[in-house]
Symmetry: C2
Subunit: 341 residues, 2 copies
DNA sequence: CTGTTAGCGCATTCAC
DNA sequence: GTGAATGCGCTAACAG
């Protein structure tokens, strides 16, 4: 079932069918009708592969992503898919494991498929210089996290603010002994938030105390254990900042098990604003991070990059790599309160 | 950069390169080496599109899915991608909205791309006869939920057991006034679980009381409100079955706000076993539903279907549609306990 | 073992 | 306005 069958059915040459289907050239309304009718009757569907071979463009965006079974990562991917769809682009997903070891394979697959561009959603490779280099040899790429080298296009939310805001909020409530459960220390965002935490404390004239920091590895159960470690060590903690909401849930659970009331005895603040943050016990004060928007923005930036590549760049500055930072903001619920007496 | 460039570089005809790259025919080790060397030096990557045009197979699986930003739906998709990758298949994602109105478009896109098969992950279309019919005209399809007509291949978890098990557990603990927060009533699974709930009660000689059922629409906030409606109406409830964990979290929150202790005053049981179920307050007794496995199984079944299509079917019975049902099982944590005095 | 001939479905250029 | 010729990158059958 091809363009030729349609041509035969409508009594024209197959090239004419091609014109009608692409809206190119000029065709008599009469024959146009006949062709369209034949298309409908035959249920003809054009072959995107064959078209791609000719046009040398696939209208496809490749995505390299880690496991997206948790909400925040999934929102990135969903945002990408939606925005791509709006621009009539298809999306091919390739996954990499937590170590990013499959990344070369993913890249190869996407190159074989001649994707127009790639969006990287794999913090696992944020420090892999080999991957970053490999990426430079392929189609235009936008990353949702850091990549080695300074000529990559990045789209991400404001990592510093996502820690500055909540810690400042706790400080404003009078807290001085503020603990932190960090993400996986192998990830840059954990350190960025760590630094912002230190900075916020300094702003308030408080010395950094490493005893108040434990690693939760983004994991709800590990955060539970981390919280116990913190309180076993420092009984005077009055607030905990968890670097994501998932871990904040583990923190709430641990505090509950220790008989500490939130926020009366201890405040808890998270980060991300996942859907269930409204119904934790108590509802979680947190930072809203725009994951969908990040995915959508990445697509728009990538498309702009592609358009720029084909048109004649006026000056070199047009090609300057960009770094889009999306703002975050506080969401106040009831897991935070004034410091206890 | 094509196969011809490689041929020129290694001094052979381009067809010979094709043979080497595909392991077909026989080639002198010497020339083979030369060709492989040229491939490496040039960084040649074959064009999957062009190959597809010839071979009339794309090694691609299309996925039609609703928004997968919640864990359970995402696990389906992740399972699909992983298993497809293991079988060297690529995955194209197309999303449909909650009403399934984009489904025709998705299907068209996947047909244009000549995907080998399709996996449907969109409960939104489970009662759409038009879509089901359309699906029959396309490539082989496996659905992760019901579809109208009885000749579709289905892969899903045991919906009845996912309600029978938890309700029986509550009954065994002595509960008699067991409330239920249902999913969205527009979805079949809500009704399947509703029926199983009624059946479990009947087994215990308890009459069904509609006052004990409220709709939570799969939503954490709506489940919170539904719980208040239930208890405003019936003060004697001693246990609540939420049709998914997300809603169970809303139930826990509502009970907490009403000053009811879980499980001392009221037991709560969920369904799905999402990751944070271990750290809710209290940790949630629930039913483990194998979402990853469902996605993986769907791919395997689809691949089997494709293999069967190409080989000569011995008898008609070989083509019989299948209905794979994955087992579920209880996970006991501390949100359930014996009925209070 | 190698190269030749053929054609997949489509878009584009240029005659008519 | 329409169709013939041409080629995209590749695989497959066959001839040398």
């Amino acid at each position: 079932m091809s363009i030729k069958d349609v041509a035969a059915r409508s009594g024209v040459a197959f090239q004419t069918v091609s014109k009608v289907l692409n809206g190119k050239g000029s065709v008599t309304p009469a024959t146009r009708e006949r062709i369209l009718a034949a298309v409908a009757e035959l249920g003809y569907v054009p072959d995107a592969q064959a078209r791609s071979v000719r046009t040398r463009t696939t209208a496809t965006i490749g995505v390299i992503t880690i496991d997206f079974s948790n909400t925040t990562i999934a929102q990135h991917v969903v945002g990408i898919e939606r925005e791509a769809r709006r621009h009539n682009r298809d999306v091919i997903i390739t996954s990499v494991d937590e170590q990013g070891s499959d990344c070369e394979r993913s890249l190869r697959i996407l190159r074989e498929r001649r994707v127009d561009g790639i969006i990287v959603n794999a913090p696992a490779v944020e420090d892999r210089e080999d991957i970053a280099e490999l990426l430079r040899t392929g189609p235009p790429t936008v990353s949702l996290h850091h990549l080695p080298g300074d000529n990559h296009t990045l789209v991400h939310s404001d990592g510093r603010a996502s820690a500055l805001l909540p810690v400042r909020h706790l400080l404003a409530l009078g807290h001085r002994r503020i603990a932190m459960v960090t993400g996986w220390s192998a990830r840059r965002i954990s350190h960025v938030r760590h630094q912002a935490y230190v900075q916020a404390l300094e702003e308030a004239g408080i010395d950094y105390d490493p005893a108040l920091v434990e690693e939760g590895r983004w994991d709800v159960d590990e955060a539970y254990r981390a919280t116990h470690r913190l309180f076993d060590r420092s009984g005077d903690i009055t607030a905990v900042f968890a670097q994501n909401d998932q871990m904040a849930i583990g923190v709430l659970s641990a505090l509950h098990d220790r008989g500490l009331r939130v926020p009366a005895d201890c405040s808890v603040i998270g980060c991300d604003d996942i859907p269930i943050a409204t119904q934790t016990i108590p509802p979680l004060t947190t930072v809203r991070v725009p994951f969908y928007e990040a995915g959508e923005t990445a697509v728009r930036v990538l498309l702009a990059l592609l358009a720029q590549d084909t048109s004649q760049p006026q000056t070199d500055s047009d090609q300057a790599p960009r770094d889009v930072v999306l703002p975050v903001h506080m969401v106040y619920r009831s897991s935070t309160g004034p410091v206890p007496e």
